[in-house]
Symmetry: none
DNA sequence: CGCGCATGTAACCGGTTTGTCACCGACCCG
DNA sequence: CGGGTCGGTGACAAACCGGTTACATGCGCG
């Protein structure tokens, strides 16, 4: 479940991202309006969290731009008491709003509600080939077998691979997406994580049938 | 790697072209909108850099026309502060934007990012003459034969030659593009790499039919 | 506190990839 | 003719890479 978080305030952005990540969402971050518009197109998130007050493009303009091409749920962040902001946001097609400050619990509850309403309920497991990934339960099942519990990092890795099932995902991309390392991350970490994940999902971890090493990265085999 | 640069301002156009050429790209130039549309069809570039403000067809219209038939990455050039231009550009399917003025470094970084993304996402292999190059899988197939695995360096070399199929690419350019050496060059490395690549793709490596030695460089033969 | 789990770090192995060297023959030119 | 340059070739060593084992750290929880 991908969520785009757009806020120019780095602290708040990271707080929101952290909260969502902990809850099992995959988070994409944008620090300004233009980046938010670009990423909403490039990454097709399932939910967008937008701060109203951003330099350059305001949250309103971003919302407008997104609505021109997609009906992805949008949650706006406003400051308390600015009622007209609220009216304007909802008028532009935003689906919900949160007044700052807010608690992480509230954020999660609203986000879950929006996703449920959009039919993107977290209860719906992702599936690709022989792999069935339950994001809500943090488990995988292979070929309809028993569910295996995954650690947060394993889950993110597998989620990335499932999202690109059949295609090679480069090590660099995986490092960025799973750990958030900006560049030149530690390949050793990826090596380890793949190894541990294989122990859990492969029938013979020494001869991987699902999670295969490919040119400059890894890929999930379908059929 | 072919890049189409469309800008009616000759100075800026040449500056961009120069920057990209130095970095090892093969650049095609267009001075107005209609030329840009025509060249984007005729030359099938891997990236298009479009100025928003052009007489005749504006950058928006050109972008629209290109999007009607291709998903090639498009980078728009806008003037700072024209936020609605930005929204409009991204809405039309542009993949990125640069606000003028910008530094050559920024241009190169963004261009590289776009190409990387496109190269990852498209399973569509490059093809030139008898050569079919699959960037995602790091393989080549000659005349539809079996795919041969390439090492990273071999892949970069062949990619460079395919991008300039039929034309001679100087040893100097190849050294810069493949190894990132700034200048001067270790010709021995190139000699070896060409040798190793020929072993993989030529039916008779002693009498090269595809990767021929040309004046001060190499070229890929196309029929 | 100490236990177990998730994660990070280090070291080793075997295979691949790449860099380096030495030599060959072709060609050019004084 | 003889030296010089250049591209092609084979051999070898260094560096690198992925898989693996082992161990350290850090954290929550009883």
């Amino acid at each position: 479940m991908k969520v785009l978080v757009a806020d120019d305030d780095a602290d708040l952005r990271e707080l929101i991202a952290f909260t969502l990540t902990q809850a099992g969402y995959f988070v994409i971050k944008a620090g300004d309006g233009p980046a938010a518009v670009r990423l909403s197109q490039a990454e097709t998130p399932d939910l967008v969290v937008l701060d109203v007050n951003m330099p350059g493009l305001s949250g309103f303009q971003v919302c407008e731009a997104i609505r021109r091409e997609s009906r992805v749920p949008v949650m706006m962040l406003t400051v308390r008491g600015e009622e007209e902001d609220l009216v304007r946001a909802l008028g532009l097609g935003a689906d919900d709003y949160l007044t700052k400050p807010f608690s992480p619990r509230t954020l999660l509850a609203r986000a879950a509600a929006l996703l449920r309403r959009a039919g993107m309920d977290t209860a719906a497991p992702l599936t690709a080939g022989r792999v069935v990934l339950d994001l809500g339960e943090h488990t995988v099942a292979i070929d309809g077998g028993t569910a295996v519990r995954l650690t947060p990092l394993e889950l993110r890795l597998l989620q990335m691979l499932v999202a690109n099932a059949g295609r090679t995902v480069s090590s660099e991309r995986l490092l960025v997406q799973v750990w958030g390392h900006k560049s030149g991350g530690d390949r050793q970490l990826l090596k380890q994580l793949v190894h541990r994940l294989r122990q859990k999902i492969e029938t013979d971890p020494a001869a991987p049938a699902l999670l295969r090493t490919a040119a400059a990265g890894y890929k999930l085999i379908v059929e």
